[in-house]
Symmetry: C2
Amino acid sequence: MSAGLSMTSYALLGLLALDSRTREHGLTGYELKQRADRTLRFYWVSPAMSQIYTELDRLAVQDFVDTADATEGRRRARRFTINDAGHAALLDWLATPPDDPLPILKHPVALRLMLGAMTSPESVVGVLDDYLEKLATRRSELQEVRDVLADQQELRYPARVADWGLAYFDSEHDITERLRGDIDERG
Amino acid sequence: MSAGLSMTSYALLGLLALDSRTREHGLTGYELKQRADRTLRFYWVSPAMSQIYTELDRLAVQDFVDTADATEGRRRARRFTINDAGHAALLDWLATPPDDPLPILKHPVALRLMLGAMTSPESVVGVLDDYLEKLATRRSELQEVRDVLADQQELRYPARVADWGLAYFDSEHDITERLRGDIDERG
DNA sequence: TGTAGCATGTAAGCCGTTACATGATTGA
DNA sequence: TCAATCATGTAACGGCTTACATGCTACA
């Protein structure tokens, strides 16, 4: 049956699954968003809050998560925990020989570079420099995450994904620098 | 005023601009789609045909392209050419100090890797191997494109973008292989 | 004769965003 | 007391996809 969830649904369900290994009381939508910002963001998307709640409702309807009312005093809150059905659905998805698409890259810088001939080399180099800066920021953010994961055996795979990301950023850095040099030289 | 076109609109307008340097009679929607499949696809998206026609209509409404009826016999066709206003709009966009977003990566393989602990190492390695294969295919497709661009001075920048893509694929290949080895060793 | 490629479109719908709205708690 | 953070949602809309529909032309 392989309930037709979107990739993002599975991604969030996956975060809940990871959480269930180390914590007991589940996550609020708000906390889930924070998890996504720390991890998913780098190689998938970090959905908007509204999207998170929509997905959580969807998962609840499919009965893949349990919802617990965690209101304290008059402060409203719901905590979501992945349940057995949810785990099963995730495993099912993981087991399906994936013909999911190749990574999709949306690279505004490449887009601008394609049209470089329409502007000045200086302007193109400016775009690249700007990109290098943002890249450095992003990399250090990811490095922090990687540091937190450290060597915890439980989090071996998320750590590997983080390493992937770091290597990707490094590669982007190198490519961009090389390109920058080439444009400086040959216009 | 920087007419609020979407990135994809600018991308397609850019393809028309590149085309206008080497050809005279413009492109049909069908041909534009082929251009996008050869270039844009690797670092942006290759919009569906329906999307292409929608964008072309949009560009026509903004008067950034000229539309010529190129029906021959009873075979209907329209050819689109970027006009002066279109060129101006493109230049304007290129000149705007871009705070456009960092590249967005949607990486299904990374997503699955994150949850590797839920399955067997063998299954994860299988996913990586599958990815390596697809990567190789994709790379060779891009290499073909790069070969066609060759050393044409006019197409220097598109060639650079292609080189970027090739380097990216190589980097992905290396990272994936390393990861694969690590999982083989340490599970 | 029929299939692949050329060429153009409409309709329905999903995914995800921004903008908007509400209210509680914590700490400067 | 005011801002930041916690917490949850609704509404409107944009971008893009798939499915569907049409018809011509070249070629095997």
